[in-house]
């Protein structure tokens, strides 16, 4: 999984039926220190995350499909947790 911050939301009417009712959030991957890293991704939300929250995102199809709870869902990213706090100790 990766750490990311929710930066926006996407509205889509015409989409695969597995996305029906799912929230699509734009997330910016971040380092543990909170620095943006790489391009924005689009993830389905399964935990009720909102804009500006730090989240945990799975970047793998099967795991993302399980988070969405729908068979044969064409997804590759899902928010699976909201981060309360991160404690990183580097030498």
């Amino acid at each position: 999984m990766i750490l990311a911050r929710v930066v926006g939301q996407v509205v889509s009417t015409m989409k695969r039926p597995q996305f029906e009712g799912a929230k699509l959030l734009l997330v910016q991957p971040e380092t543990p220190g909170g620095e943006a890293r790489g391009n924005t991704l689009l993830a389905v939300d399964s935990v009720g995350a909102g804009v500006s929250e730090r989240v945990i995102v799975v970047l793998e199809g099967r795991a993302a499909g399980e988070a969405l709870g729908r068979r044969l869902a064409p997804v590759d990213a899902a928010i699976v947790g909201i981060v309360d706090d991160i404690d990183v100790q580097e030498d």
Partner: protein, 90 residues
């Protein structure tokens, strides 16, 4: 998934038979600000997207799921047309 914009279509006569009747589009990945991000790629379309439209696409094996039970050998697929997106305060 990633945001993208459809910038072209691909015509291929000789191809894997699983691609028969499948639309292939050229997609430019975008940042949240709408700027181009990285190189364009070819994606299979399962939502009726067209050139100029904003879309979101999935990468990996999941790109073939909309064509189930046909196992289309694709690694990128358009799975939604974007009406609009909003950015929040950071």
């Amino acid at each position: 998934m990633q945001l993208g914009r459809v910038i072209g279509d691909v015509v291929a006569t000789r191809k894997d038979p699983c691609y028969e009747g499948v639309k292939l589009l050229v997609v430019q990945p975008l940042t949240a600000d709408g700027a181009a991000a990285g190189r364009p790629l070819v994606a299979v379309d399962s939502v009726g997207a067209g050139v100029g439209e904003h879309v979101f696409f999935v990468r990996g094996k999941e790109a073939s799921f909309p064509f189930h039970p046909v196992e289309v050998p694709a690694d990128a697929g358009i799975v939604g047309i974007v009406d609009h997106w909003t950015l929040g305060e950071r």
